[in-house]
């Protein structure tokens, strides 16, 4: 297996937590995602395993949100009330707040979890170029907001 499962566990968990804001549920869904991944070799063989993992995790999170009747993603960022947030990141936090939830999700996946653009393209069913351009625009937006702030 090309990717380290234990390392990906943390990434998937962080992604689920970002979407659900519930550590227990996020961990349940992370484990369910890995069980499905390990069971389903026929799908994994077809495409990129990382995109497969994120697709399963995202679908399970959507199911969970539907069952909770949550119509939109939560607007706050995790760790918002942490006392130890460094001064330098305050402006970044504010800039991130001004992004919409999908843009924040892309930032998490690309720059925090390090998901390659090719896997993101598969996950969002878009071309690699479209994803690349979208990320560039988000970064520009972030820089602009930080400069204004």
């Amino acid at each position: 297996m090309s990717m380290e499962l234990e390392e990906q566990y943390d990434h998937i968990y962080r992604y689920c937590y970002f979407r659900l804001r519930d550590a227990g549920k996020a961990e349940d869904i992370t484990q369910e995602t890995f069980l499905r991944y390990l069971e389903s070799d026929s799908y994994r063989d077809i495409g990129r395993p990382l995109a497969f993992l994120y697709t399963v995790a995202r679908n399970l999170c959507i199911d969970e949100m539907r069952s909770r009747k949550m119509e939109s993603l939560p607007e706050d960022l995790p760790g918002e009330n942490q006392e130890d947030s460094v001064l330098d990141s305050i402006m970044l936090r504010q800039a991130l707040h001004e992004l919409d939830s999908r843009e924040r999700e892309l930032v998490l996946l690309r720059y925090v979890n390090g998901v390659p653009v090719a896997d993101l393209a598969k996950l969002y069913a878009k071309s690699r170029f479209a994803i690349y351009r979208e990320i560039k625009q988000i970064l520009k937006k972030l820089e602009r907001r930080m400069a204004d702030g």
């Binding site: 960022l77 936090r93 720059y111």
Partner: protein
Amino acid sequence: MDKVRRKQLEKLYEAPKPVGKRKFFRNIDLRPAGMWHHLAIQFSYISRWSWAAAFGMLGVMVYLSRFNKQGMLSAVLSMMPLLVLAGISECVRSSTYGMEELEQSSRFSLKSILLARMVIVGIEDIVLAVFFAWIVGDEYGRFTGQGYFGRTMIYLFVPYLLAASGSLWIVRNFNAKENIYVCTGFILLVSGLAFCSTTNFWWIYEENYLSAWVGVAMLLGGLTFYEGRKMLYGNGGLIWS
């Protein structure tokens, strides 16, 4: 993006520590579901009627080997195409009951399910053919000398492969709900022809024609492989999962 900014983002997106990770990885089997595991799963879905048909034919052969040795070759040649009928009904079960779309979205792709069923049924048929050839070859070998086992195998495989390639072609070209009936008709025709050949055209089983039998068996083998491959990969609707 520079490293400092990445670190800041990691901090902002930090989640509470997962508590069950260690236990989870300790308890699960990290080996992915492999080919044998997949075959074992599909094995349990082969219908009981299919196994019953195979055991029924085995019973007939054992009976004939004890009480009616003269009729063994005719019986075994006409039974070989019937094995195809049991196998083909397993392979077209999804389409017969209109379940293809559901199976496309299940754990294993329909292509891998079909392939697994073909492998299981194929192995079962080969084992039976070897057993039949052993019984018949043993009986006839007493009169014709050594090497009758291989000859019988070729005689058995010609009607079997003719029925298999024809049935696979029918499955591809006829309506999903009706193809099993067309297959049944075709297989019974092959079975009947095989039976008649042992009574009316017995001379074709003489040693002079052995090379022709080998050629026909190879040709039909290639045709069956081609049709099987077409069914798995070339059937438009089956490849989109």
